[in-house]
């Protein structure tokens, strides 16, 4: 029977850290620790001596962990960015999902796989949520800009709101552009003209 692994998740946002930890628990009987505080990260990780460290690929603190990858003293445990030559697909899937894994030297890929698979699933979920949030925000921004463009047209041409929108839509269609793009240009031009 292989021993329990100590997995450290570096994640400042508790709303993200918890689901990752839950996912990892489902993947096997492991000891999971979350480090939220970024200060003294290298020291914290070195003291815990984890088998696996999971961290968002874009987390600036990754650059701190990279140093540990070169630790070479006899008492130190070399931690390396996980790249599996025999299964490049898994490495790529992890990077695509936005996760990076550091593992200690000598940990067998078949022990890492279920852990990484569970983490990848959670990170995919976050990515989807983030994309949806961004899309919602963008839609809101577009509506605001279209409203402003309509106001510009209503004032400049003395037309009502419906006619202003129709004009925007027709201009967009004639130019093969999106209504929001035309609205953006109109608002910018109006700004330049000082109105």
């Amino acid at each position: 029977m292989s021993k329990r692994l100590l997995i450290v998740v570096v994640e400042p946002d508790p709303d993200r850290a918890q689901p990752i930890a839950d996912g990892l628990r489902e993947a096997g009987d492991h000891d999971i620790r979350i480090i939220a505080e970024q200060s003294g990260l290298a020291r914290q990780v070195a003291e815990l001596r984890p088998d696996v460290v999971l961290i968002d690929i874009a987390n600036p603190s990754r650059d701190i962990l990279e140093e540990l990858a070169l630790a070479s003293g006899p008492a130190e445990r070399p931690v390396a960015m996980f790249v599996d030559r025999s299964d490049e697909g898994m490495t790529r899937a992890a990077i695509e999902s936005g996760i990076s894994a550091y593992v200690v030297d000598g940990l067998r890929p078949e022990r890492i796989k279920p852990i990484l698979d569970a983490a990848i699933a959670r990170f995919h979920m976050f990515q989807q949520m983030r994309a949806e949030l961004a899309a919602t925000r963008a839609a809101l921004e577009e509506r605001k800009i279209i409203d402003r463009a309509k106001a510009v047209l209503m004032k400049a041409r003395g037309i009502d709101e419906e006619a202003a929108y129709a004009l925007l839509r027709k201009t967009a269609m004639d130019g093969g552009k999106r209504v929001a793009d035309i609205a953006q240009q109109l608002v910018m031009a109006a700004g330049l003209l000082g109105r």
């Binding site: 003294g40 690929i57 874009a58 960015m81």
Partner: protein, 392 residues
């Protein structure tokens, strides 16, 4: 239009990539650039390695480290051109600033020896210096400078701190001093937590800072796009080297999509007019950052060798072997092939003695002559890639 995905870390030296996109240099070459802002240097390396980026903005010693096997096992990465020289600043916390002033240091911001010796005089115990990455020009600059000013390796503790977090690290007392690329040194000054002691150029006049790195597989399989990208970035660098353009560049870089900071902050490094202390002292550092001028973008193989030798000696690798391996990853051949059509001045040789030019010098080029920028070290150090390795 062919779309290329470019990764960059938000710093003023990402300017050539951002300007290539914003001012249409990329479009002129038939390229659309998808600029992807990254949070960590390791992210640039990993995403490039996995093919999720076509090219990346990287610290010059990073591809050297990859060539030496100091990073993860990823496909071969080549540096095809240098993106910037200089652009870094060394800063000290307020406590050290006070002690240096009390000891009579003038913060002239141009004399690395005077600053280093003054620091040697006021520091007791190990000096903790923040650097952005263990494979960085900053790390090499700090080690070289302080060793030459009497700090033994054991009296120096280099700590990796991502640049946007450097100011907080100073505030928490985790580092006493640091060396980072702009605008992050100015940011710490602005927060009233640090004083700038030196520009990187005072230590090494032409320290190569960032490079454009691609997978070798990409440069082999897609030479047309590789060349188009290099020419677009080279023209952006040439535009950036006009002092009249630096203010505009600061405006563009500061936008929310890029650095997302007040333009005034980015402007300091780009114009070389820096506020060095909370008291508002201003110093002018001519040539604080250069992009193309004086062959700054040429990826001299001797630079690869210089970093490789230093890294090899620190990590117990064979220096000669390390130098040979690293040099193969600085692609002077691609620079010549792809930038010749754009009219880039091309030096006759692909390696040289580093640190030999105390002043700008006119030399023979492939066609006519060209000017090489001064590249001296403050202590007169020179590096000859053909000479036997020695620790320094």
């Amino acid at each position: 239009m062919i779309t290329l995905r470019l990764g960059y870390v938000p710093l003023i030296d990402a300017a050539p990539l951002i300007v290539a996109h914003e001012l249409g240099f990329a479009a002129e070459e038939g390229l659309a650039l998808d600029l992807i802002r990254l949070g960590a240097w390791a992210q640039a390396r990993d995403m490039l390695g996995a093919g999720l980026l076509d090219a990346a903005h990287m610290l010059v010693p990073m591809p050297v480290g990859q060539a030496l096997g100091l990073g993860p096992a990823l496909p071969a990465m080549d540096l095809v051109m240098i993106l910037s020289q200089g652009g870094q600043a060394v800063a000290v916390n307020r406590d050290l600033e006070g002690r240096l002033r009390d000891a009579g240091h003038d913060f002239a911001f141009d004399d690395a020896r005077a600053a280093g010796l003054a620091l040697r005089g006021v520091v007791t115990g190990p000096l903790r210096v923040g650097v952005p990455f263990h494979l960085s020009t900053q790390s090499e600059l700090v080690r070289h400078w302080l060793a030459a000013c009497g700090f033994a390796p054991t009296e120096l503790d280099l700590i990796t701190v991502p640049p946007p977090m450097m100011t907080d690290a100073v505030a928490r007392g985790e580092v006493d001093a640091f060396c980072v690329g702009e605008p992050w040194a100015s940011f710490a000054v602005e927060r009233g937590l640090a004083a700038l002691l030196l520009p990187g150029t005072a230590i090494w006049a032409a320290a190569p800072e960032k490079g454009l790195v691609l997978l070798r597989g990409f440069t082999d399989a897609r030479p047309t796009e590789t060349g188009a990208l290099m020419r677009a970035v080279w023209r952006a660098g040439r535009w950036l080297d006009d002092p009249d353009h630096r203010g505009t560049a600061a405006e563009i870089l500061s936008r929310p999509a890029y650095l997302n900071l007040p333009p005034e902050l980015a402007e300091r490094g780009l114009t070389g007019r820096l506020t060095i202390s909370a008291g508002g002292d201003i110093r002018h550092a001519p040539g604080f950052i250069a992009f193309n001028a004086g062959a700054a973008s040429f990826p001299w193989k001797s630079l690869a060798a210089l970093f490789a030798q230093r890294l090899a000696l620190r990590h117990g690798l064979d220096p000669q072997d390390a130098m040979a391996r690293a040099m193969a990853h600085f692609r002077t051949d691609l620079y010549r092939r792809h930038l010749r059509p754009a009219g880039a001045p091309l030096p006759g040789a692909s390696q040289r003695v580093e640190g030999a030019l105390a002043e700008d010098r006119s030399v023979a080029a492939e066609r006519g002559g060209m000017i090489l920028r001064a590249d001296g070290f403050f202590d007169g150090f020179t590096f000859d890639p053909a000479a036997p390795a020695s620790a320094n």
